[in-house]
């Protein structure tokens, strides 16, 4: 088990290196550079030239590649060109904010999808199953940017119940409860798609499990529904549930960019968006790498849990 975890962790390193390389190439090939935006349009030619030199933007490809390789391998990603501060410090700060949003979304996704999938599978082909399926289908089809704005309209504007911008009320920061109230709408918006995906996949796994001969055998012996569902059927659907949920970790962490923009949530997605717009190479690297790390870690943890759940492989 321990050896397996180590081995899987080592396997993730080439993935991260590959991701980082692709980002490096993309930033290098992207038209436009950071200097004009840093110095303004009225900046003199000398001003732009010396900043390009300072940031190493004029170095030949091979030199830039070497600097990048060194940075990735040593884990020191350098300074943000725009904010002039160490990339890791900035990325970690934003990651914390994204982490909060990811955890709360993950919580909703796992609890709700488990409940909905179980009901759906148990009452397969009933009205309630079809209602849940339709609802999930609708949820998955709603664009995040649309859902977010509708939620704001409903719960912030029409019924002024919940705040819609940022993590705290800046005029009078209220601590944890303030954060919770700011968290609700972005969480629901971010969780929507994942909820639909996890519910659909888990339902299928549950349906398969419930159709197995051993369940029929269990029913024949007079086991209670509760015992059949939780003790026997779900046990078999659990690896699928964990795997698909693990995939959502990275997705919720890195792809929350729409909800982060709409709700002005200062997370990694919003930072990545701003960094791409301003062509801040080191920051783009840092953000993407961070998202990739969380993605890989989410899968890794899911894999390890699944292996641990599997009695044969334990």
């Amino acid at each position: 088990m321990f050896g397996y975890s180590i081995w899987r962790s080592v396997q993730t390193l080439p993935v991260l290196l590959g991701v980082s390389f692709i980002v490096f190439i993309s930033v290098y090939l992207l038209p436009g550079d950071v200097t004009q935006q840093l110095l303004g349009l009225a900046a003199s030619k000398e001003s732009i030239a010396s900043l390009r030199k300072e940031l190493g933007l004029d170095d030949p490809f091979i030199v830039q590649f070497w600097i990048w390789l060194e940075r990735v391998l040593t884990g020191n990603l350098g300074n943000s060109h725009v904010m002039r501060a160490p990339v890791w410090d900035l990325v970690l700060g934003k990651s914390m904010n994204s982490f909060v949003l990811m955890l709360s979304s993950m919580f909703i996704v796992m609890v709700l999808s488990f409940m909905l999938a179980t009901i759906s599978a148990w009452k397969k082909d009933s009205a309630i199953d079809r209602a849940i399926s339709t609802a999930m289908f609708l949820l998955a089809s709603m664009p995040v940017f649309w859902l977010g704005i509708v939620l704001i309209l409903l719960f912030s504007v029409t019924l002024p119940l919940l705040p819609s911008a940022g993590m705290y009320n800046l005029s009078a920061p209220g601590g944890f409860s303030d954060l919770l109230s700011h968290l609700i709408l972005p969480t629901v918006t971010t969780a929507a798609t994942s909820l639909a995906i996890v519910t659909r996949v888990t339902r299928s796994a549950m349906v398969d499990a419930l159709a197995s001969p051993y369940i029929t055998a269990g029913k024949a012996r007079g086991l209670s529904s509760r015992s059949i569902i939780y003790r026997h059927a779900f046990r078999n659907a659990l690896p699928t549930f964990v795997n698909i949920s693990g995939l959502q970790v990275g997705y919720l962490f890195g792809s929350a960019v729409f909800s982060e923009i709409i709700f002005a949530w200062p997370g990694i997605g919003l930072q990545l968006y701003n960094s791409v717009i301003s062509r801040d190479g080191p920051m783009i690297q840092g953000c993407v790498l961070m998202v990739a790390v969380v993605f890989v870690l989410g899968n890794l943890v899911a894999d390890i849990i699944v292996r641990w759940l599997d009695v044969h492989q334990r």
Partner: protein
């Protein structure tokens, strides 16, 4: 039944555990602000750059920096819709200008302290000038030297006369020198605390903890999230001591999200709401503060394109554009038609001036004369714009319809702002005909980067290759004019040459607009890219 309840209890426990876990990770902000403290939160269009007054680069950043720092002279931003913001004393109480216009002697204000307690005097002024101009000084900052070319280029020398007298000698007279000393947006001659600059480990570090003499003190910045300032209760001008405690700038890039944040009360002031939502915001009880600001949207024409080499075609394009219609119908009255490179709120602006104005019939005649009676194809390269631009692509579509009316078939290619700037700097690519960007300052210096032959790509933003030495001559003459009248006449001569050549086509100046909550008063949209936040009050 019992089982069900157990399930609920379990779910409740799970929820509680999750909350506890969350609270471990969450960086909880400070306890609630002390009761009775007044905070004004302004939602702005993007994250400002370096808060160093000498290198701040953009007016988006100047908007923050101008609260913390000031120069010898300032601009009175307490009135809107005046032709140009008047120059007023700031860190200098008074000044003398020699008869030949070359020597400026400033009497500095006494008993002024920087936010860190350092005294303001002629030595502090010299420290700042050395940082920008003197390569031999330990605090010399190359980037500051380059970002301030536009005002320092005429400075021959500067000296401390006594503790509170500072003298600047220019190589040639410069009718706009005081204005340039008061102006920001690229770099500025605003004064930083020598003690703080020396104490900072690097210039970048000083920009993270800026110290000046202005009506607001810097408190804290979280990149991309907030910049917190607090009032300087010791500010020298009692009329500009802020009437509230904290000023927080909060970047919210998306315009709809910014408007939402205002509606839901997360911010008190939203910068640049979209014209389309103005009526709605007003209906909901928010105040729209509007005023003329020194911005002008200009179309660059690619002089290398065959059709555009004919001045009749260029004039026809200008005459095809319905600027009135755009201002009234598309921008809903929140724009003013523009015909001149001398922008509103800047030197030499004339509200009655018109040039190659809307006349589609005449445009068609000109095209026929030039041999394009059957029309021709043009490619417009556009951008949704940077911070502060709204509705640019809709403008492009408006122009596209205007051009179609005279037989010109236009296609639009939209680039993001970063790619767009680089394209402008490299010059308009082959096959492209028109581009548009907003510019304008309350000093004429921006024209140096746009119309001069020395600004031809890749050295500046004369991106359409308008190669006319007359521009250089007139701009030099304007800058080194001894009097404002002379400067204005030179600038207007330049304007007329550009109009005659239809080399650039100004189209419109959007009004500066902010939306504020009902509790905000005295927000003045003066003709400047940044407002005087010290005048604002909150109920």
């Amino acid at each position: 039944m019992k089982d069900k309840r157990l399930g609920l209890v379990r779910a409740g426990r799970g929820l509680a555990a999750a909350l506890v876990m969350l609270s471990v990770f969450v960086p909880i902000t400070d306890a609630p602000a002390q009761s009775g403290e007044k905070t004004v939160v302004m939602g702005i269009e993007g994250d400002p750059l370096s808060l160093d007054p000498h290198t701040h680069a953009l007016w988006l950043t100047a908007r923050v920096v101008s609260n913390i720092f000031e120069g010898f002279v300032g601009q009175d931003l307490s009135k809107s819709n005046v032709p140009i913001a008047p120059i007023v004393p700031a860190l200098a109480e008074s000044w003398d200008i020699s008869a030949d216009g070359a020597v400026y002697t400033f009497k500095l204000r006494q008993n002024v302290k920087f936010h860190d307690g350092e005294s303001w005097n002629a030595e502090a002024a010299k420290f700042n000038f050395d940082r920008i101009l003197n390569r031999e000084s330990p605090q010399f900052y190359e980037k500051a030297y380059q970002q301030n070319t536009w005002w320092r280029q005429d400075v021959e020398k500067y000296e401390v006369v006594d503790d509170y007298t500072f003298r600047i000698t220019l190589k040639t007279p410069n009718a706009e020198f005081l204005r340039r000393l008061s102006q920001g947006g690229i770099g500025s001659a605003w004064m930083a605390s020598p003690k703080a600059v020396r104490a900072a480990a690097s210039n970048d570090d000083f920009a993270k903890t800026p110290v000046g003499t202005g009506p607001f003190r810097f408190v804290e910045r979280v990149f991309g999230e907030q910049i917190v300032l607090e009032k300087n209760e010791n500010y020298w001008d009692p009329a500009r001591v802020p009437q509230y405690d904290r000023l927080i700038y909060r970047p919210i890039v998306d315009v709809a999200a910014r408007e939402q944040a205002l509606v839901t009360g997360a911010i008190d002031i939203a910068a640049t709401p979209s014209p389309d939502n103005s009526a709605l915001l007003e209906q909901q009880g928010f105040t729209l503060v509007k005023g003329e600001v020194p911005t002008v949207y200009v179309i660059w024409l690619n002089m290398k394109q065959k059709a555009l080499q004919d001045v009749r075609v260029r004039r026809a394009i200008s005459m095809a554009l319905d600027r009135e219609g755009l201002s009234q119908k598309l921008r809903l009255g929140q724009a003013i038609p523009a015909y001149s490179m001398l922008n509103i709120g800047g030197p030499g602006y004339d509200p009655d001036y018109k040039c190659n104005a809307y006349d589609p019939a005449k445009a068609k005649d000109l095209l026929k004369e030039a041999g394009y009676g059957d029309g021709f194809d043009v490619k417009m390269i556009w951008t949704p714009g940077g911070a502060g631009d709204v509705g640019m692509v809709a403008d492009a579509e408006w122009f596209q319809r205007n051009l179609a009316d005279v037989g010109i078939r236009a296609s639009i290619e939209v680039l993001d702002i970063g790619t767009f700037f680089t394209m402008m700097n490299q010059g308009m690519p082959e096959g492209s005909d028109m581009l548009q960007i907003s510019w304008g300052e309350n000093s004429a210096n921006w024209l140096d980067a746009v119309v001069r032959t020395s600004a031809l790509p890749p050295n500046g933003y004369n991106s359409g290759y308008y190669d006319n030495p007359k521009m250089d001559q007139l701009l030099d003459e304007a800058r080194t004019s001894a009097s404002e009248e002379q400067m204005t006449s030179k600038l207007r001569a330049l304007r007329d040459v550009i109009c005659e050549d239809a080399a650039f086509i100004p189209t419109h100046s959007p009004l500066g607009v902010v939306a504020t909550s009902k509790s905000i008063h005295n927000f003045v949209m003066a003709p400047q890219h940044w407002p005087d936040m010290a005048l604002v009050t909150k109920e």
